[in-house]
């Protein structure tokens, strides 16, 4: 089934679901929620097919689909996955049903529009990860702003309008400048190769003079730095997170921010190798500032959700540091850590949402001693917190270790500074756990809080399973990421003309490409050991 159109099927299914749901009568809430959940689960199952068909040893884009979209300009509807995007796609399809499940009871206002917005959002995110054409990527990159804007603005907290508009304007300001840079890249391709193209693999082959590279680099970096977000462009994130409904926060932290790190890996490093080599230190520095600053701010937050939001700033700093350290281990670690962060921070937001639904407050001071009242909740929360801290045996450790070990080779001083972030994370998260769960029950209202409901338990459990799985046995994940990272780094190194040697060409036989990529990878490994 779907031998050539698997990616399209995964991509369009959520949108088709959203359109079908529009026809449902508003009163049939149960049917609407169940249908939406069913569609998102079906999408997840289909996306598992991607994993089974994915050839782990190959660096090239797989399961590709290419159709003309605007042929006069060489714009294509081109989809594909490689090791860099594979797990991000899975993360997206994995988190969407969890979000729908977790907000089963908590969204009372306009539930129909809420699930439609969620499915539309999933469509946008998947498209951005699948797109192999820059214009197509850009369309999806902006497309997902609209449902997210509505999710924050309609279902958010008290200050939601301010947060929604700030989110939208910040993101679009960055991405519109990137649009100019994208058009310029296409024009460069037309000038150098004789025909316009926005295909990522075609653009990898461009030779761009350093000055222009720097300007384009700035435009792209700004867009993704806002999305990640890097200090000092992060101010929209705490507002958006605090005001967004639980489901919105999970998706925002889990997937949307990852588009920033994904953009760095996919576009910035390989398109602008010279500019990257020159300015990697600055981005590394900003990342480390983010790690420490985010952690310190998180430490003093009286509000749980704000604490988790600032911890995101800190954790994503690790990912960015790993990317710009540009070693095999650090970039692989960054990609894995993007997934890990999606799982553990997603779970943290979910659990904070659980507590908020019961008490309508998130202030640390309003809790205490919950361990006795909500034992299951407590256990799950502590596992999640430890995973976020980076305890060995859970997923966070694997990612952070790879990033720090890899980054140390190229950015030793920054890496040492970043390591303090791990310690700070332990402090603020354990602080949170202690304040909320241990000690006596101070507030009477907390004495009879019900433990997790069925939908909440069902939503959290898969996340916990993934934390343990990646923590204990990350090999299946890493082995699929590594070949693509290796090739990417080869393209992104300052190799000049050699860059094209490793490039994937659409005409090449996939098997031959796989063999060649493997040979290249082996040669590279040999070179390193010597």
């Amino acid at each position: 089934m779907f031998s050539n159109t698997l990616l399209s099927a995964v991509l369009w299914l959520p949108l088709a679901g959203a359109i079908i749901l529009m026809a449902f009568p508003r009163r049939a809430e149960g049917a609407i929620k169940a249908t939406a959940l069913g569609i998102s689960l079906l999408t997840f199952v289909l996306s598992l097919l991607i994993v089974t068909r994915f050839q782990g040893a190959t660096a090239a884009f797989q399961l590709t689909e290419t159709r003309d979209w605007i042929p006069d300009w060489g714009i294509q509807y081109a989809l594909g996955v490689d090791g860099i995007s594979l797990w991000l796609v899975l993360l997206t399809t994995f988190l969407t049903p969890i979000v729908l499940l977790s907000s089963w009871y908590s969204i009372r206002k306009h539930p129909k529009e809420y699930v439609i917005a969620m499915l539309a959002l999933e469509f946008g995110m998947l498209g951005a990860f699948f797109a192999l054409d820059l214009i197509l990527f850009y369309v999806f990159f902006e497309l997902m702003l609209i449902p997210m804007y509505l999710i924050i603005g309609v279902w958010g907290g008290k200050n939601r309008i301010y947060a929604a508009i700030k989110f939208f304007i910040f993101t679009i300001a960055g991405s519109l400048l990137m649009l100019i840079a994208i058009l310029d890249l296409g024009w460069l391709h037309a000038k150098q190769m004789g025909s316009a193209s926005f295909a990522i693999t075609d653009l990898y082959g461009l030779t761009i003079e350093p000055r222009e590279q720097l300007l384009l680099f700035i435009a792209f970096t700004l867009a993704f730095a806002i999305k990640v977000p890097l200090v000092p462009l992060h101010t929209w994130l705490p507002d958006a997170h605090v005001e967004a409904p639980t489901g919105g926060s999970i998706i925002l932290a889990g997937v949307l921010l990852k588009l920033g790190t994904y953009g760095f890996v996919r576009f910035v490093l390989p398109f602008f190798p010279d500019a990257t080599a020159e300015w990697a230190w600055l981005l590394g520095l900003l990342a480390v500032i983010g790690i420490i600053y985010g952690a310190l701010i998180a430490w003093v937050q009286p509000d749980m959700k704000k604490l988790v939001a600032y911890s995101s700033v800190s954790h994503l700093g690790f990912c960015v540091l790993g990317i710009f350290a540009m070693t095999q281990a650090s970039v692989t670690g960054s990609i894995l850590q993007s997934i890990n962060h999606g799982i553990s921070t997603g779970a943290l937001f979910l659990l904070v949402g659980v507590i908020y639904d019961r008490r309508h407050t998130r202030l640390l001071a309003d809790f205490g001693g919950l361990a006795r009242v909500m034992p299951i909740f407590t256990v799950l929360f502590i596992i999640t917190a430890l995973s976020s801290v980076g305890l060995p045996g859970l997923n966070g450790f694997v990612g952070e270790f790879l990033i720090l070990a890899g980054s140390f080779r190229t950015m030793p001083r920054l890496t040492i500074a970043a390591t303090t972030g791990v310690i700070l994370a332990a402090i603020y998260l354990l602080w949170l756990v202690q304040k909320v769960f241990f000690g006596p029950v101070i507030h009477k209202e907390n004495e009879n809080l019900p433990d997790l409901r069925w939908n909440e338990l069902l939503a959290v459990s898969p996340l916990i399973v993934m934390m343990v799985w990646i923590g204990l046995y990350p090999a299946p994940f890493l082995s699929r990421i590594e070949p693509s990272v290796q090739q990417l780094l080869a393209i992104s190194s300052r190799g000049g003309n050699e860059r094209m040697v490793l490039g994937w060409t659409p005409d090449e036989d996939p098997a031959a490409a796989a063999a060649r990529a493997r040979a290249e990878a082996l040669r590279a490994v040999e070179g390193e050991s010597r």
Binding site: D68, W69, I70, P71, D72, W73, H110, E113, I135, Y138, V139, E142, L143, L145, I146, Y149, L150, G153, V154, R160, I161, A164, I165, F168, I169, I172, A173, L176, L177, L179, I180, L183, D184, G186, W187, A190
Partner: protein
């Protein structure tokens, strides 16, 4: 110039669209006088006439007519379709609006049809006199239509304001034309172009003529700093008229402007003059978008947004080349769909037309009337240029042309201006979905004709947004032909 009329064998079929519209207008006026009972069917008759015109346009033979003063080509066909689309949507929106406001009458639809004839003449004329004739025909229709609300003060004010200032602007255009004729001895674009390439150095009077014409056309286009009339006139005119007035006439004027500009530049505009265009463009984008942020009246906000959008389109004239003509064509088509859609929802608000229609009137509309809310939201996103709407594709084409011409700076100005604009376009979405209505709630009308118009607009916006390739290809081919016909 020969004074003997030259009639090419095909001339009847060539101007059949114009003739259908003119005759239909006459019939409507006569029916209004002699069979007033038929009034409820006038809008259907108008739609019928427009559809017939569309077919006539499609079948019109290409070439130049009337001694080389009238061009029928793929490009004029595309613009004919833009005008017909705008008029069709305005007609559909008018029917229930006029019934509600008790303004029914044959002259309303007749004037809209004749105005369309004027626009077609502007787009097809290869001689300044034809363009000015078309412009005048259009303007006179607009004067009357803007004042259609006879009993409402702001409507009268708008009509008078547009009449006085419009007459003044036409004066400027005529004066510029006279200067051009005085220097070159010709009013045809071919003649002007030949003359311009023959003179060793541009005479100083030419600069004056160009400035005069730009002032006049700038007024018609509502370019900053000639935009002062637009908010008042849009606010005062019946909303369907504002929808029509804010889209199609601007497209017609742009075609005429391209022709003049091309004739006087011989392919490469002298820097001093393109400087004028750049200044007008940047000023319009900035003033339009920044002042729109301060507006609470929807029609005034759309007026300022329109100023900014013409500013975007001027980018293409600044870097004049075949692709930029294509970009303007696509943008004009898109702009008709999204702006008429937006005005269309406003026209449905059941309110005393003397009072402003503000953002508060649409609060919560998205959940009370999902269809209207959806249409307005899509139109706003399209105006803001957010994918997957037509507005994004149109802007993409525009900025692409600018970048390929090496004018990245003006594309960046355009981008910065669009960042400002997202604020007020999104504010509309905010009012639609995130704000609860104040009492008393302004209920919108539910009319089948208006709904049809909104449906066409939304389908058009999404279709061009998702599958723009055919329109792009058609526009590119048409534009290439157009710029070749002028030597």
């Amino acid at each position: 110039m020969t004074l003997v009329p030259i009639l090419e064998p095909n001339w009847m079929r060539a101007i059949l669209p114009e003739m259908i519209l003119s005759v239909a207008g006459l019939i409507l006026i006569l029916l209004d006088a002699f069979a007033p009972r038929l009034r409820p069917f006038f809008s259907q008759l108008t739609v019928l006439a427009l559809v017939a015109t569309g077919f006539a346009s499609l079948r019109a033979p290409g070439g130049t007519f009337f001694g080389g003063t009238y061009e029928i080509s793929a490009l004029t066909l595309l613009f004919d379709l833009v005008f017909i689309l705008a008029t069709l949507l305005a007609t559909l929106l008018s029917r229930e609006y006029l019934a509600r406001e008790r303004l029914e009458g044959g002259e309303y639809f007749a004037l809209i049809l004749w105005g369309t004839v004027g626009m077609m003449m502007m787009a097809k004329g290869l001689d300044l006199l034809i363009v000015i004739l078309g412009l005048e025909l259009l303007s006179i229709c607009i004067f009357v239509l803007v004042g259609a609300h006879r009993r409402i003060a702001i409507s009268n004010e708008a009509s008078l304001k547009y009449f006085l200032m419009g007459a003044f602007a036409t004066g400027f255009i005529l004066y510029g034309t006279a200067l051009l004729y005085g220097m070159s001895g010709s009013t045809s674009f071919t003649g002007l172009s030949t003359w311009y390439r023959g003179v060793p150095e541009a005479p100083p009077l030419l600069t004056l003529a160009v400035v005069m014409m730009m002032g006049g056309f700038g007024f018609k286009l509502a370019l900053a700093p000639f935009h002062g009339w637009a908010p008042d006139v849009y606010q005062g005119s019946p909303t369907p008229v504002a929808a029509w007035l804010s889209t199609a006439p601007k497209a017609a004027t742009l075609v005429a402007l391209i022709r003049i500009w091309h004739a006087l530049s011989g392919g490469a505009a002298p820097p001093a003059w393109s400087g004028i265009i750049a200044v007008l463009s940047v000023l319009s984008m900035m003033v339009g978008n920044l002042v729109a942020i301060a507006q609470r009246d929807l029609k005034r906000m759309l007026a300022y947004s329109g100023i900014a959008h013409v500013g975007y389109m001027m980018i293409a004239i600044y870097v004049l080349r075949p692709e930029s003509v294509a970009a303007i064509t696509v943008y004009a088509m898109t702009y008709v769909l999204m702006n008429v859609g937006a005005f269309g929802v406003v026209s449905l608000l059941r309110k005393n037309q003397n009072d402003p229609q503000t953002l508060d009137d649409i609060a919560g509309l998205g959940f009370r009337h999902p269809f209207y809310g959806f249409v307005l939201a899509i139109c706003m996103l399209s105006l803001a240029g957010i994918p997957p709407t037509a507005g994004f594709m149109a802007k993409l084409l525009l900025f692409k042309v600018a970048i390929e011409a090496g004018a990245i700076w003006i594309a960046i100005v355009g981008i910065v201006a669009s960042i400002f604009s997202t604020y007020y376009y999104l504010r509309v979405v905010y009012y639609l979905y995130m704000k609860d209505a104040d009492e008393p709630v302004v209920e919108p009308d539910r009319g089948i004709f208006s709904m049809a118009a909104l449906g066409i607009a939304v389908i058009g916006i999404v279709t061009i947004g998702l599958l723009p390739a055919p329109l792009f290809r058609g526009a590119l081919a048409a534009a290439a032909v157009m710029l070749r016909t002028i030597p």
